[in-house]
Point group: D2
Chain length 338, copies 4
């Protein structure tokens, strides 16, 4: 940590900072500049919080030098980690495509969606049984019944299953219906109680980014899961709050590039959540792969105009089928497969 | 709802929209303009989702005219609602000041904080027993023990109690320790599972704004609580994500003004969460009252430089005591009391 | 335009709105709903400003239905426009790559940069002679001398030239040194005095997006140029203000997709301005092409570590040379050439 | 400046950084930590650009310690500066209120506006003759004629005059019509060519904040003016880009507090530009004063519903007259006068 003293800081206040550094078991390095004195804290700075120093007299600023996340950091583990969801491996040369409806609505709908995903060459099936919506009068998901229908559709078409966890009380059902991977939605990215629980179970976790989260906050959310013992984490970029009326979120394409550098874990992208329009999804999917994403999470619905949630976002079976060869061409251009 | 057809929309596609409006039990009004045809849906448009129309052929856009929230809307109930937390009434002429530490750390700390709040003229005491932090290595709160210590401090100084609920499993403890009002943090504003639960209990709720939430999203979060039967809701502005390195959140002062217009429920402000620096809190507290806030939530800590969380934000007892007369002067200038 | 009356609007106030619509030479369409009356204004609504209605009694909201931009709109001209900069055609199947240093620094630097661009297969050369910097103590460009050096380098390597215009007083020099296309920087996107001037000259314009601009505002800036008579406009996405400490701007990849839909004019991308780090540029360049961009504007500098501005952003000659085949592969995967 | 070396940085690369620091005439301080080596550059770091170091091998990050702005910094001049616009002094105990229409439209309009400002107790008159608008089809101001009308209105009611400068070619007219202070709009905050010119003239400058500007960028814009020799600068907060549909900009109330700490120059607020609605202006004006603003810039129009620009923002004469006593009460509560 570096503590920047204010210009004209008194010797007494400088020594108080030094004393506090020593009290935490670290050593100090003083650099007396022409305008300011800098004090470096040498040792494991994770034991210190910059804000403690910022309350001390004559301290202008305190900054961390070392990153707060460790287990998820590429600095800790330089080689990329592979995360497997029932045999579909994320983080290697192969791009993984997850398809399915925003919500499981009924048996024919999820069956038709699963068929579309399988026929189009998708690798995994998702469908939420538990939905968190902005509007209390909107469809909130089928609950347990949705898990059962999802499981049947996955079994029928041989697809690994992903579903969203919105509350700790649903974990048991997720295990009972043998959902293969758990998705944590953007709203719950910073819900550390939930993160701690999924850190304790033996299922891969797809961790979506909160709409106002910095990369460090997102990585720290992953660190919560990792500290629980679950290292099978896939980060999913799905956009940050937009001021552009044309789309609800900005897809932060740079986040893919930066995250692949910062973490050894896989990074995927959910374009439809960001852009909010099915017609924008194909171009953004190609862009996500070109930026280095390890996979995509796509809304696929047999009949979007009848969808109970996010009708405007879902690809039809035909649109999904047309998109896949285009994605494959981009993947191959970059030396990857799909 | 208004459906805007694309230029040159075919008669067949216009009639398809009309048919869908009628199928939902509403009537249509067609306005054939020089460039575009507009179709109004007359009746209870809450039964319709604009996104369903946006997937139909030749539809350019569909827009709601009626607001999605009802119970929390001033349109529904023009008179301001009063919400009482064990006798402290929010929403009337009297400004309410809530003080206390970000987290309950130990018995002497919360006792000293309660004493400072009471001595300074604060009206209610808050202190979190359950903390959600960005960093898994940071202090996460004392848990149940924190509620017990908070209760003792409140009893000692005769202050109503507020504490944060971060997980549905803590509700029982909140009831057992008789916490007077429940705070929902910014991270959980859109956690509808949690909102539904607090909608079912008989405690006032302080609902903080998510860092990327629009006012409509925030009001809808309140609507979740109201639809459960709990109408004792206080909205708390605490800032939105900032791009300015000097402070983590922008305090959205306009939100106070707009919200007082949109909802009949009280609106308070937590300046320290937004600005992140104790030295900025006094000026922002005055500004919040001047903008029309019904109360303030202030971090007060007996020894901020030793605080286990957010040391940089808390007022000392002396700072709190100096601030209160200034707030009183502003309140009186505006015809309110404190 | 649609005027939404407040619930319970008086007949008199409704008629006042109708009278105003008629006074502007339009016709009205009344739709009396269960909660609100809607009034459509039929005719050329560009003659009306919604804000005028919003000041009238009992008016809740007024909304445009027709877009404010016309000349740049694809709605006006469905076929894509081609814009040629001395033979390099933007907007067709061919991807155009512009390379060069952020600023012209001296003769050897711009010569070496031009050589790198030409050798790597870039199509056009840029280099600013006039720089607008955040810091008054930073290098502000060579001025006229920079244009002369740029011209020499372009002539030597047979590359069309692009340079930034920051002030109306520089237009004459741009014409004198025969710069082939003029760039308008993000800071000047909304500088309508400057836009009007470049609308009057006979040079293609590369119009960068302001860091806080919506797409409509950006398109309107283009409309300023078009209304002056200059229709050779290329939009350049270069990012919007970021709250992520890791990069100064979010590259708004969705803007490429949305803009290609909204305008018939070409859209290119400047990734380095957005991300601020040379190491992120290759992946973002690929993503921009995959999203549908018609070209790229890349910082290429013979010796970035000695650069007088934005050292952290520039590709070396070797990095540029390595990137080009990768871009070509992506372009070809999408059925385009480079 | 602090240069943070990557973990495991080689001695050779550390020495290269040291050599570069020495080459710039500064001294180094090495702090070899357990994970990283930090190198402090001691001396006038303004001679160095962090980005130069970030391109060197094994350098992870380089950070300034000293601020880039000097002349406008309170660190340089601890006492608050007073800026007088023809006798109206900004920055002291007295709050200054500037009123007037967004644009000068015709003689009766600006006369009536001036009368309203004077009658209500406002201190200065503003009115733009040159307008930069989003839409090329919108009213663009009367130009020179507007300055003449403004001057007549100011003379009639004895009010100092403020008008906006949007282009360097208008400076002569500003001097000729003896406008007392020049406003630089939010769009031009970073237009350094314009800033340099107003730095050379002998008129106070009201410098509005760009919609995406950080405080440091804004202060640097002021530094541009100051380095030209003009130290009569007043900063005007007018909001940053908003994602909330209800208002175009967030009024950054914290910026007032932070800026008063960072600079010795006065800070005022223009609430209507931020919130976009006249009905929100009174509450935001009170809040601005309570936060510590030295003055207000208010839209006052004799007949807003007929205004040629921003009809929705302007106060009527009556609304202005009602607001002033409320503002006075808030000012007095804070120990200031109005």
């Amino acid at each position: 940590m570096i503590i920047v003293m204010a210009p004209g800081a008194s010797e007494q206040n400088i020594q108080a900072v030094v004393a506090r550094i020593r009290a935490a078991g670290l050593k100090e390095n003083l650099s007396r500049g022409t305008e300011r004195t800098l004090i470096g804290a040498i040792g494991d700075e994770r034991a210190l919080d910059p804000s403690l120093f910022e309350r001390m007299a004559d301290v202008e600023r305190a900054m961390r030098v070392v990153k707060e996340y460790q287990m998820v950091a590429r600095e800790t583990q330089p080689d990329s980690s592979l995360v497997s969801i029932r045999g579909s491996v994320f983080g290697g040369a192969q791009i993984q495509v997850i398809g399915g409806p925003s919500a499981v609505e009924n048996a024919p709908q999820i069956m038709a969606a699963a068929q579309a995903v399988e026929a189009g060459g998708g690798h995994l099936l998702h469908g939420a049984a538990f939905k968190q919506r902005d509007n209390p009068y909107s469809f909130q998901g089928l609950g347990i019944e949705g898990l059962e229908l999802l499981r049947q559709a996955g079994a029928q078409y041989g697809l690994p299953l992903i579903s969203e966890l919105t509350d700790v009380r649903q974990i048991e059902a997720m295990l009972e219906y043998d959902i293969d991977a758990i998705a944590i939605g953007a709203r719950n990215m910073a819900n550390s109680d939930l993160l701690k629980e999924v850190g304790r179970i033996n299922k891969p976790v797809i961790l979506k980014r909160g709409a106002a989260a910095t990369l460090a906050e997102w990585l720290m959310a992953g660190e919560y899961i990792a500290t629980g013992g679950n290292h099978n984490i896939i980060f999913c970029e799905c956009g940050i709050r937009s001021f552009e009326p044309g789309y609800p979120h900005f897809l932060d394409i740079s986040a893919i590039v930066a995250l692949k550098q910062e973490t050894h874990l896989p990074v995927i992208v959910e374009p439809a959540y960001a852009c909010g329009h099915a017609w924008m999804v194909p171009a953004l999917s190609c862009a996500a792969l070109a930026a280095g994403a390890d996979g995509l999470l796509l809304d696929v619905h047999p009949s979007p105009a009848e969808a109970l949630c996010h009708a405007e976002r879902a690809l039809t079976a035909a649109q999904f089928q047309m998109l896949m060869p285009r994605l494959r061409a981009v993947a191959q251009a970059l030396g990857r497969s799909l």
